[in-house]
Every structure is written in C-alpha cells, then in structure tokens.
Symmetry: C2
Subunit: 212 residues, 2 copies
C-alpha cells in the first residue's frame, strides 16, 4: 500500500525525507483518527500535534481525502501485523479462527488505538459519504470478511464445522461479535470486559462444531 511516489526512486534522499515525514505524520494521524473519527481528523489539528505547518501536512498527502485513504491503509497494515500475521502461524480452519479472535480481542484490550479500532468506526462513519475514503474502508472490510469466510470454509472441509452452515453467515457473526466488543468497550469503558467478546467468538465456533 505504498504510494507511487515512494516506489519510483527509493534511493533518492529527497523522496526518502518525504517518506519519513509522511510516515511520522501517519502514525500520529492514525491515533488522531481513532479518537476523532476519519472525518473528524483534520489537517490543521494533525499539523499542530506534529508541530509543523499545516501546509506541510497538506503537501505531504495532497488532500484530506488522500490522507484518509493513507490512514486506512496504515490501519490495515497494523491490523495485519498485530492480528492476522500471528494467526497465520496456526493451521487454517478453527485453530486459525480462534487465533484471529484471540488476537483481535488482545489487540483491542491493549488499546493499540486510543479511540478504538479506526476501521470499525470509520465503516459506520463513512457509510453515507461516497468517495475514495469510503471505498478504501469498504475494501479492507471486504478483505477481512473474506479472510474469515475462507477459514470457515477450510474448517468445514476439515470436518471441524458443520457442513450445513453458510460460511459467509458464520463469518458475519464472528465479525459482528468482534466489532461489538470494540464498540462496547469504547462506549462503556471499564464496565465492559473483553471476556464477553472472547466468549461470544468461542461460543459461535462451539455451537457450529461438527457433531463428529
């Protein structure tokens, strides 16, 4: 998910400087977006947090929309690193699905993002606003749901999950539980325990277990 600009001439110190700037800016932008939302994220606010001119931030990304897209891409990278990659060490199917659920909950519990999962809030925030940012969010979410679905399919093929179920349906339900955990923890704070999310994820896998 690198921009063309980065890829053209990686050895150019000028572009490297720009890339470092964008990189640092993105790290702050992701945190800001997790709190303020993808739309609430403002170039002005981000610049002031970075201590740079706001025109610099604008120049680094080109437009607010491009910044939003970059934030989504970065969030995707972080999610892959913290949740998906660790789960890939487990065999596909129920084991990997379990690892994905556990990884997701741990990632939320660790408060990687101050304001909760950016993608969750963004997907509800952007739903009424056509544009590149919305498409980026929808794309990542589609990827995520497909990942869940394909692992349910493998679990069915391996005889771990009942063959009668619709893989996309179970993937939908697993995702629903995870998003709800993110949501309730943000809204109710300490009053919510991630064990509820873990139990929900586990329960879905259990109750759809193949009756061997």
């Amino acid at each position: 998910m690198e921009t063309d600009r980065d890829a053209v001439e990686p050895r150019d110190g000028r572009r490297a400087r720009g890339a470092r700037t964008r990189d640092a800016a993105l790290a702050a932008a992701v945190q800001l977006a997790s709190v303020e939302g993808l739309e609430g994220l403002s170039i002005a606010h981000l610049a002031s947090r970075l201590g740079t001119a706001k025109s610099s931030v604008h120049a680094a990304f080109g437009s607010k929309e491009a910044l939003q897209v970059a934030v989504v891409a970065r969030t995707r990278d972080i999610l892959i690193e913290l949740v998906i990659a660790p789960a890939l060490t487990f065999p596909g199917g129920v084991a990997r699905l379990t690892a994905l659920g556990e990884g997701w909950m741990s990632y939320l519990e660790a408060k990687t993002f101050e304001g909760g999962c950016v993608l969750s809030s963004a997907s509800l925030e952007m739903d009424g606003r056509p544009g590149a940012a919305r498409d980026a969010v929808a794309g990542v979410m589609r990827e995520w749901l497909d990942l869940l679905t394909s692992n349910v399919e493998r679990a069915v093929a391996a005889g771990e999950i009942r063959a009668e179920i619709d893989p996309a349906q179970l993937a939908f339900e697993l995702n629903a539980v995870g998003m709800a955990a993110n949501w309730q923890s943000q809204l109710f704070g300490e009053a919510f325990s991630y064990q509820t999310g873990r139990a929900g994820w586990r329960g879905l896998l259990e109750s759809n277990k193949a009756s061997s």
Copy 2:
C-alpha cells in the same frame, strides 16, 4: 423525553408554536444525522434544509449539543414505536426476543433512516468525545441492552433457554448481530441481505435453546 420548556405550560400557544417548530426541525435533523452522523449534523445545514434562518434553529434548541441530545431522544422514540412496542405484544422470553429481532431487521430494511440507525453510528462516533450527547447515546444503548438481557432472563426462567448461559452475554451477542446487519447494509448496500441478520439472530436463540 420532553424539555422543561414544553412541560411548563402546555396550553400556551406561543410555546406550542415553538414545540411545533422543534418537532418539524427534529424530523429533518434525525434524517440528516443518519447520513452525516451526529457530529456531522450542522445547524447551518439543517436550517437550509428547513428553509429557515440558522439562528432560528439555534434558538429552538439552544446549542448544537442540545440538538444532538434531542436527536438521540427522538431516535429512541422512533425505535420504541417501530421496534419495541410491537414486540411487547408477544409474551416475554424467546417469543419477544424473536419479535425484537424481526422488528429490528424490518425497521432497517424499510430504510426508516436514510443513513442507517442513528444510534449505531452515533455510539461509535461519540465514543471519544465526552459530553451530553455521548451520555445520551450511552444511556439509550444501556436501556436497549437491558431490555434484551431481561428478556433472556425471562426465557431462562421459562425454561426456553439453557440455564447455564449468562443473560448479558447472549444479549451482547444478539445486539452485535443487529448492529452488524445495520453496518454491513450501509457499507455494502444491495450486496448485503437482511436475511443474514435474521439468520444470525435466530441461530443464537436456537443454539442456546434449553435441551428439554
């Protein structure tokens, strides 16, 4: 959920006029908020849609925050009317829970709100912004979850649902499925079928059925 102003002297035609104005403004505000979000809802935009001066809208509600709170209260009223009240005609327990799920999905399917359930998006949007609006959202959501929980408890008491389950846990899962349905329908449009939400809700009740 009426303001003090309305309650003081209901026969006062001046206040009645104001109440009518607020009422009409709220109807438009709720639609706008469902698309733009609770924070994206602006007094200026609302006024232009109503064809009135923006200072009039401001005067009617007092502040943007008060407008947001009023929108939440109105959304709650609509939800009670369209989803909860019909379900109350069914006996408490699984029957009522089933009716709540069906009512919720139908209400989403009917696109009562252009941009999807205001409360769902608002609860994720407001989570990082302390204030009256956030508290209002959290309060309504708490009510909703409590309603689900208490019906699960009744279902357990009636022997319809396994006694080992945690009522709050199942309520969490049911709510997760409903919110996810709202969310996916907004993000993926026609590609999402509310049957997925219905099946999820039904599946949760089925798989937690008491083994009589």
